[in-house]
Amino acid sequence: MLASWPIRPYNAGNFSHTRERHMSWIENRFEEGLIVTSMDWAINWARTSSLWPMTFGLACCAIEMMSFASSRFDVDRFGAGAFRATPRQADLMIVAGTVTYKMASRVRRLYNQMPDPKYVIAMGACTVGGGPYFKYGYHVVKGVDLVVPVDVYVPGCPPRPEALQEGLMRLQDKIRAQSVGLPKGSKRAAKLGLPTPAAAV
């Protein structure tokens, strides 16, 4: 049409079911052992208890997300109440609402601007897989996992705030299972000259 669209085409399907773990500076520098285990505990405690979401809503689901953040449901109890107005300060992206093809490039850019480690919750049927627009929506992305890697899916149209809280707690469980050390079995793999095993995500 009038102007060319200033985005690079992305490789869809890259993120569908598996993902590379995004790493911060401290990760994969230590071998397994006692030090790593206690450090993991401290780091994961810090990460789970201060998940800062990005202020970001795309459609009706965002209303439930606001309710989830406000006093009745009070997400501050989980340490995730500090909604940041910039992706540079955010750890968590709650994709709440319908992602259109036009918005997809913006969602991807916001995700790229977040510092590692970063997490994504897909909230609502629309972001899980196109939802009510799966069939008749010519303009809706059939699931935000085609655009950014998703950690936790929260189904519903819209999910109740409790459901999103549940999703947040599942994400915290996931973070608690992370380790900053080298992946399990990498010492043995190095001895045998095998490639380093992939980290559990």
Partner: protein, 171 residues
């Protein structure tokens, strides 16, 4: 003025340019064709007795069976407290209309939307581009024969509603 009087006045002024007059309809209106739309619009706005100074809505309909596109303009007069509508029929393959955004500023965005969704081209529009969809979008989605995109910048789409494909695989 009553819708009957408005329709009569338009009929007297424009004669055969008013192809159909339906003042007693639930949606009182006259029908016209693309080449007379600008004249009728100017008359509706500037005539002292009509004085349609407010464009309530401007939208479009696709009559694919008749190979016609139709622009629907709903007008209100704040001075005389009456309302009326005009339907402008045009050829589906060459849907070109003069813009009325200089008469009613509300038409600016509505015409862009009619272009975006239906592909009606407006001449002399001050800022003529798509309003909702991205600028590199293919096609005009509210047309009845629109084909859903299979992918957009590498993001796959669904083709369950692709009516052409559905016809290929009955049931």
């Amino acid at each position: 003025m009553t819708p009957q009087q408005i329709a009569q006045r338009l009929g007297e002024k424009f004669g055969s340019a008013v192809t159909q007059s339906l003042p007693d309809d639930k949606h009182p209106r006259v029908h016209t064709t693309a080449e007379h739309w600008r004249q009728i619009a100017e008359f509706l706005k500037f005539d002292g007795e009509l004085a349609f100074d407010f464009l309530a809505c401007l939208t479009a309909v696709d009559y694919v069976a008749d190979n016609k596109l139709c622009l629907v303009a709903d007008l209100i007069s704040m001075t005389h407290h009456h309302e009326f509508a005009v339907k402008v029929y045009m050829d589906r393959d060459h849907p070109t209309l003069p813009s009325v955004s200089d008469l009613w500023p509300a038409a600016d965005w509505h015409e862009r939307e009619a272009y975006d969704m239906m592909g009606i081209l407006f001449e002399n529009h001050p800022d003529f581009r798509r309003i909702l969809l991205p600028e590199d979008w293919q096609g005009h989605p509210l047309r009845k024969d629109y084909e859903f995109p299979r992918e957009y910048h590498g993001i796959p789409g669904s083709y369950e509603m692709d009516w052409k494909q559905k016809a290929d695989y009955p049931a």
